[in-house]
C-alpha cells in the first residue's frame, strides 16, 4: 500500500494480447513497472517490443477487437485503472494522463484548426468558456514555440516539427500528472529532433510532470531520463537509474544494445549487432525470452522466466545469471508473473 501511494504509476504483471488471423500475439507478457512522481523514465526497446501497447494499456485505449488486457493491474495514483468506468477513464485521459503519439504527420485531425484541437482538450477537462479555451490554446502555442496567431491554421500548413509542437501543446494543455511520449522524435529530421527534445526538457521542468519517454534510441533517453527500463518481447529485462544503467549494463540484451551503438572514436568497419531476431510474439519461447539470442544462455534459461533481482540498490535485472548473486525479488507481483510464464 505504501509503495502505491508513493508511486504515481504502478503496473503489475500486465499482459496484453491481440487476436489476429495468424494467432494470438502476446504483445505484453508479464510486465512490471513503476514510476515515482516527477520521475522521467525512458522505456527502451526494439520495434515490436510492446512499448506502444504498454502506453495504450496505461491510457486504457487498447483497440478491442483485436486487443485485450488479459491480466495484471495498472495502478494510477493508487487506483486501479482497470476497475474504472468508461466515464472515469475519460476524465483521466487527457486530464491526468496525456499521450504524445509517434507520428506528428498523422496524429492531428486534418479538418480542424490547431487551436480548436488544443481548445478541445481544455474544454473537456476545465470549466472554461469557449473564448477562454481558445485564448489558453493560443497561450499553449506560444509555450511550445509557435506564434499564437497561427492558431486558426490547419495542420497541413505546418511542418513536421511544428506539428509535433502542436501535439505537445495538446498533451500539456491540462497540466497532466503523467505524460507518455511514444517515440516523439522518431519521425522527425535529426536537427528537428534535437529541438523537440530541448523543448521537452524545458517543459518537463516547467510542468514537473512525471514522464514515460518511449524510444528505441538510448542516446535520446540519456538526454532526458532519470531512469531507464529496457523492454524486450513484452517484458522488462532491466531497470535502473540512468547513470547506473549506462555505466554498468547487466543484462546481456542491454549490453548488446550498447555494443550496437556505433562508436565514432574507434575505426570500425562493421556494426556490432545482436545476432538473431526478436521472438515471434505469437510463439514466445519458454523461459527467458532472450535466451535464443543470448551468448550466455544455459539450460536453466529455458526453464521459467528469470525473476527480477536487485543487482544493486535501484538496479534491477531479470537474468538467471543474477539469481545466484542473491538480492531479493521485487515483490509478490513477480512471483505471480512467473506462474504465468
Amino acid at each position: 500500500m505504501d509503495q502505491q501511494r508513493e508511486h504515481i504509476l504502478d503496473i503489475r504483471d500486465l499482459r496484453v494480447q491481440y487476436h489476429t488471423d495468424t494467432g494470438l500475439v502476446k504483445a505484453v507478457e508479464g510486465l512490471n513497472l513503476s514510476l515515482a512522481r516527477g520521475e522521467t523514465l525512458g522505456l527502451v526497446g526494439e520495434t515490436g517490443a510492446g512499448k506502444t501497447t504498454t502506453a495504450l494499456a496505461i491510457m486504457q485505449l487498447i483497440a478491442s477487437p483485436p486487443g485485450r488486457i488479459a491480466g495484471g493491474s495498472i495502478f494510477f495514483e493508487g487506483e486501479d485503472m482497470l476497475a474504472k468506468s468508461e466515464e472515469e477513464k475519460r476524465h483521466i485521459r487527457g486530464g491526468k494522463i496525456a499521450m504524445i503519439f509517434q507520428d506528428p504527420m498523422t496524429s492531428l485531425n486534418p479538418v480542424l484548426s490547431v487551436q480548436e484541437q488544443i481548445a478541445e482538450m481544455i474544454r473537456l477537462h476545465q470549466k472554461v468558456t469557449d473564448k477562454e479555451a481558445l485564448e489558453k490554446a493560443r497561450d499553449m502555442l506560444g509555450l511550445v514555440g509557435l506564434r499564437p496567431e497561427r492558431g486558426p491554421d490547419y495542420p497541413h500548413q505546418f511542418s513536421g516539427g511544428m506539428k509535433q509542437r502542436v501535439v505537445i501543446a495538446i498533451a500539456l494543455a491540462c497540466s497532466p500528472r503523467l505524460l507518455i511520449a511514444d517515440e516523439p522524435t522518431t519521425a522527425l529530421d535529426v536537427t528537428i529532433q534535437a529541438q523537440i527534445l530541448e523543448l521537452m526538457q524545458q517543459l518537463k521542468q516547467h510542468f514537473n510532470t512525471a514522464t514515460i519517454l518511449i524510444s528505441h534510441d538510448l542516446g535520446v533517453v540519456a538526454q532526458l531520463c532519470d531512469s531507464v527500463a529496457i523492454m524486450y518481447a513484452g517484458r522488462i529485462l532491466e531497470k535502473a537509474d540512468a547513470k547506473s544503467l549506462y555505466a554498468n549494463p547487466q543484462h546481456p540484451y542491454t549490453q548488446g544494445l550498447f555494443n550496437s551503438i556505433p562508436d565514432m572514436t574507434k575505426n570500425v568497419t562493421r556494426l556490432n549487432t545482436i545476432a538473431g531476431l526478436p521472438p515471434d510474439p505469437t510463439e514466445l519461447p519458454p523461459g527467458c525470452c532472450f535466451a535464443p539470442r543470448c551468448a550466455h544462455a544455459s539450460g536453466a534459461c529455458s526453464e521459467g522466466s528469470p525473476r527480477m533481482v536487485e543487482y544493486k540498490p535501484g538496479h534491477f535485472v531479470a537474468c538467471s545469471r543474477m539469481n545466484g548473486n542473491g538480492g531479493g525479488a521485487l515483490g509478490p507481483a513477480e512471483e505471480r508473473g512467473q506462474a504465468h510464464g
Binding site: R90, G95, M99, P110, V111, S113, L124, Y154, Q157
Partner: protein
Amino acid sequence: MTRFLLRRILAMIPVCLGVTFLLFSLLYVTPGDPARLVLGEEATEESLQEFRREHYLDRPLLTRYGLFIYNTVVHQDMGRSYMTRRPVTGEIANTFPVTLNLASGSIVLATVMGLAFGIICAVKQYSIFDNITMVIAMLGISTPLFYLGILLILWFSVQLQWVPSSGFDSLSQRLLPWITLSATSMSIITRMTRSSMLEVIRSDYVRTARAKGQTERVVILKHALRNALIPIITIVGIQFGHLLGGAILTESVFSIPGMGRLAVDAIKARDYPIVQGAVLYIAMAYVVINLLVDLLYAWVDPKLRTQCR
C-alpha cells in the same frame, strides 16, 4: 471564394453549349420524320414541306443549332411543341419541378439513411446489424429500379393498400417513388460511408481524440465523420446525376407527370423542341450539382479552402 464561384458559373456555358450541340447532332442523324409523325400518314407532300419549312427542318444542322441558341439566349424562347403547340418553356416549367422534387427527395433520403447505416456498420463492424445491412445493400445495388418499383407497388399499394400506386401530389404518393429511386444510391452511399469510416476510425488522429478523453459520440461524429465525408461527397454528387436518369424510369412506373416522361414521350414523337429543352435543363442541373459538390468539398476540406483563397 467569389472568384472561384464566378469561374465555375462561367464554366457552365461551354458545358451547356457542348451538350446541346451533341444532342442536335444526334437528332440530326436519328431516323424518323417529325413532319410525318405530327401530320399523320395521310398528309400531302405539300403540307409536309410546309411543316419542315416552318420549323427550319429543311435547313443545315449548324443553322438550326444557331437559331436554337439565339432564340434561347436572346428571347428565352425554346420554341413550341410540335404536338401540343404549347411553348416548351411552359411545358418544362410544369414538369421540371416534379422531377427535381423526385430526385432531390431521393438523394436526401439516400444520403441521410446511407450515412446513418454506414456509420453504424463501421462502428459495429462484423456485428449482425452490419452483416444484414451489407446483404441488403448488395441487393439494393443489384435490383433493377423498375423491378423494385413494381414489387413495392404490389406489396404496399395492391396488397396492403397503404399508399396509392401513382401520382406525385401528396406525401403518401411520393413515398414509394422516393424509396424506389433512392434504393441503389442509398446502398452505394451506405457501403462508401462504411468503408470510409472504417479507414478513418483506425487513424491516428481519432486515437488522439480518444486520448484527450473525448466521448465516443463526438469522436465518431466530429473527428471521424468530417474526414470520412470527403470521399462520400463525391459519391453523393455522382449518384445525384444517376438519379436524374433513374427519375425517367421511376416516373414511368408510378405514372408521375415529370420531365422524364415528357422527354421520353417527346423522343418517341420526334418532338424536337421538347427534347432539346429537357436535355438543356438536365445538363444545367448536372452542372449546378457539380458546383454544389465542389462547394461542399471546400466546406469540409480545409486544404481546398486554403487553396481557393
